[in-house]
Amino acid sequence: MRHWKIFILNFERVLEYRGTIFVWFLISLFHPLLYLLFWVQVLPNIPSVGVFSIQTYYLLFIIAGGFLFIHVESDSNEDIRQGGLSAFLLKPLSYFWFKFYSELPWRLIQGFFGVISIVSLVQFFGVSLALHFNFTSITIALCTWILGYFLMFYFKMFILLSALWFTDTGGLKQLTEVIVLILCGFIVPISFFPQWLKTVALFSPFPYMIYFPVLFLMQGHEMTEWIKVLIFQLGWLCIFIGLYGYMWKKGIRTYTALGQ
């Protein structure tokens, strides 16, 4: 019950910033459309790749960008550098869940904006989507989206917690942002990567955060492929949960704050 109440309180707080959310959404809308514009004009010159699927891919990235691109790490300055973490330590709910519930409303609202914009594109501009809908595919896609969300959340929490050691994590944030953007298939679908980069990407956790959740909403996939991806997601999630526990335990010992 308290989880629900904290979530609702955060939801109400976020709704006060409707203009701010809308601008954040426009940012997540802009890049997929820019890349789509590029590929739609370039792909007809490249045989063996369909324009139809690339359109669906980038349009789904608008929803994924809103829902799965978590930015919890931006709180590191306020929470750790300025000592705001002290207040969370005294509360009867872990810091992890407080951050989780403060981030979730932003993601849900931005994801919702993404859904509205795609429905509008389909309804009013006649844009076609190559989606694959049946009960099994929706269930599995939903699982990959939820697991992808948790993977991204844990990963961003690592960057947030790294401020316990480094204080200023600006450089690390930028570095991880670049890596995530490339390896989650945001610029170019991973299937378009050169072979060596594709291998690197598939062994990293990043495609399992966004790329596969997006891909599984698209045209049909083999059951073995679904299971493989789900196993990779669960594997990375177990590693992340263990690593988070270790980082929190070690990091909290180094934390100091004055006058709280």
């Binding site: 802009f30 590029f38 200023d168 450089g171």
Partner: protein, 284 residues
């Protein structure tokens, strides 16, 4: 407060006088002082400086990596070869890098100053408020990005077997300055909206992302039809200086860019003066 006009308009002669060109010597002296103040602040946080240098170089590398990935399937895009596109990206690093050095941080700060009602302290100073808001901070850590961009421009010109003449360089510098002026004026004009709607403080984030339009050849946007009217100047700011060195520039495009830059700069003055009438502080 520096409010011009009683009915919300600013007479043109008065507007021109309000541009701090008339007090050029005074403002140059102030800016010199601001530059040295920024160096002092930089030296106080060397760790942060190194971190930021790394981050800015990383974004420069990201621009090149994305072009390499985007052209991995087709080396020839919109009539531009891969090396020409890399030259365009290097020019993007220089032009947009300059804006990041001198303008971007100030626009972020402007949003916060207005949001938290701290504009009073700037309005009460005996100098132009737009000047102070636009140029107070200098982001030195982005200088290596600009320098890297310059080196890469030379490298890709060499790879393309192009040796620019002095007149080519003159046109390149003129168009780059016009592009920087346009980007600044466009950003400032949009950021003035935060006076009316302070909750839109993150508009600058959108504008920074929006400048990525300039990273791709202008030809990419031709398919957009009437939407291009809105995007048009942004598609020119890097493409035209690059075309100047590639010697494929049409002089009328260059004139359009210069006119847009001057027009937007004057517009930014008008909207700022007008917006100040709506500014309410938080009793700071």
């Amino acid at each position: 407060m520096d409010i011009c006009g009683k009915r919300g308009y600013v007479p043109i002669p008065r507007l021109v006088n309000s541009i701090p060109l008339v007090d050029m010597k005074k403002y140059l002296k102030i800016y010199q002082r601001l530059l040295s103040m920024n160096v002092s602040m930089l030296l106080a946080y060397t760790g942060n400086f190194m971190n930021s240098v790394f981050a800015s170089l990383l974004w420069c590398a990201f621009s090149f990596a994305s072009i390499l990935l985007l052209t991995s399937r087709s080396p020839d895009v919109f009539g531009w070869s891969r090396d020409e596109l890399m030259l365009l990206t290097a020019m993007y690093s220089v032009v947009v890098g300059f804006v990041h050095v001198f303008i971007t941080n100030n626009m972020f700060e402007m949003a916060h100053v207005i949001r938290f009602g701290r504009l009073d302290s700037i309005l009460l100073k005996p100098m132009d408020s737009q000047f102070m808001l636009s140029l107070k901070e200098v982001n030195y850590p982005t200088v290596p990005r600009v320098l890297t961009g310059c080196i890469l421009v030379v490298i890709f010109l060499f790879r393309l077997h192009i040796s620019p003449t002095i007149s080519d360089m003159g046109v390149l510098i003129l168009l780059s300055c016009a592009s920087i002026l346009f980007l600044y004026s466009f950003w400032f004009t949009v950021m003035v909206f935060t006076v009316y709607y302070p909750e839109l403080w993150n508009l600058i984030e959108l504008l920074v992302h929006f400048s990525d339009i300039a990273k791709y050849p202008g030809e990419m946007y031709h398919g957009l039809g009437q939407f291009i009217v809105f995007l048009f100047p942004l598609t020119l700011i890097v493409t035209l200086p690059t075309k100047a060195v590639l010697r494929s520039l049409h002089w009328s495009d260059g004139i359009i860019l210069v006119c847009f830059s001057i027009g937007f700069f004057l517009l930014s003055r008008i909207v700022w003066k007008h917006a100040l009438r709506s500014y309410t502080s938080a009793s700071s």
